[in-house]
């Protein structure tokens, strides 16, 4: 796996995560508002990061923080879909919790001078 392949697979994961609820909403002629389009962007970012991290399974599968990050990203996608189906924007605040967790891990690892963000 080189860098271009990893980024292509991550982009495909993000597009699939964003388009699945959009196709559902359009197919069943549910109302599509600004909140729904925002949710598509949030779902793309979540799916991109999830696929990016999931491709590093062979390196980090024994780390607790890595498994927790994957589980939090799945929960984040579920919250995003909830926000898209019910058109509630505050669901995206719950969805951002996983990103904040990963950013905190990266900051802590940078402060401690470690090589990767999954510290435990």
């Amino acid at each position: 796996m080189n860098f271009a392949e990893i980024v292509l697979i991550s982009a495909a994961g993000g597009v699939i995560a964003a388009l699945a609820p959009l196709i559902y909403l359009f197919y069943y002629t549910r109302p599509v508002t600004f909140t729904v389009w925002t949710g598509a962007v949030v779902a793309f970012i979540g799916g991109f990061i999830f696929t990016l991290l999931a491709q590093q399974w062979g390196l980090f599968y024994a780390r607790y923080t890595y498994i927790l990050a994957l589980a939090l990203l799945l929960a984040s996608t579920a919250y995003t879909y909830w926000g898209m189906f019910r058109r509630r924007w505050f669901a995206y605040l719950f969805a951002a919790a996983a990103w904040i967790y990963i950013i905190l891990l990266a900051v802590v690892a940078r402060t401690l001078g470690l090589g990767d963000p999954f510290i435990i």
Partner: protein, 133 residues
């Protein structure tokens, strides 16, 4: 098994299917109706577009990766032309929804039948290459 071609194909197929449901919504709004009244076979067409576009992208990878196209084998060039034609028909199905959707979808399945026939013929002939002629 090429995961890049598979995932990129599924993502592209979902984009085409999204174009289909978006076009259905626009046409139905123009006539003041709901999409299920206008388009009887949308439950078949929407998943078909996802699968068929994924199959097209994967077929392009098969044709290019195993040297068929770079050697200018007639069977490989024919397969690539059929895949390109099928993709154009499927884009037409997606963006111009009509009452002939199912017929066009059936016609656009020719490259898959052709590639499967090549595969069966290569197995029967004991050939190591898919590109028989």
């Amino acid at each position: 098994m090429n995961w890049v071609a598979l995932l990129v194909g599924v993502a592209a197929g979902m984009a085409v299917a999204f174009g289909r449901v978006y076009a259905e919504r626009l046409v139905a709004r123009y006539f003041g109706l709901v999409p299920p009244l206008l388009f009887k076979h949308r439950d078949v067409i929407v998943p078909f577009l996802v699968l068929a576009t994924a199959a097209n992208v994967y077929a392009v990878w098969i044709t290019v990766a195993y040297g068929g196209l770079s050697a200018w084998r007639l069977s490989a060039v024919l397969g690539m032309a059929l895949v390109a034609a099928a993709q154009m028909i499927q884009l037409h199905i997606a963006l111009r929804p009509t009452s002939r959707d199912l017929q066009l979808a059936l016609i656009s399945c020719t490259p898959y039948v052709y590639l499967f026939a090549l595969y069966v013929a290569a197995l029967a002939a004991g050939s190591y290459s898919l590109w028989l002629f």
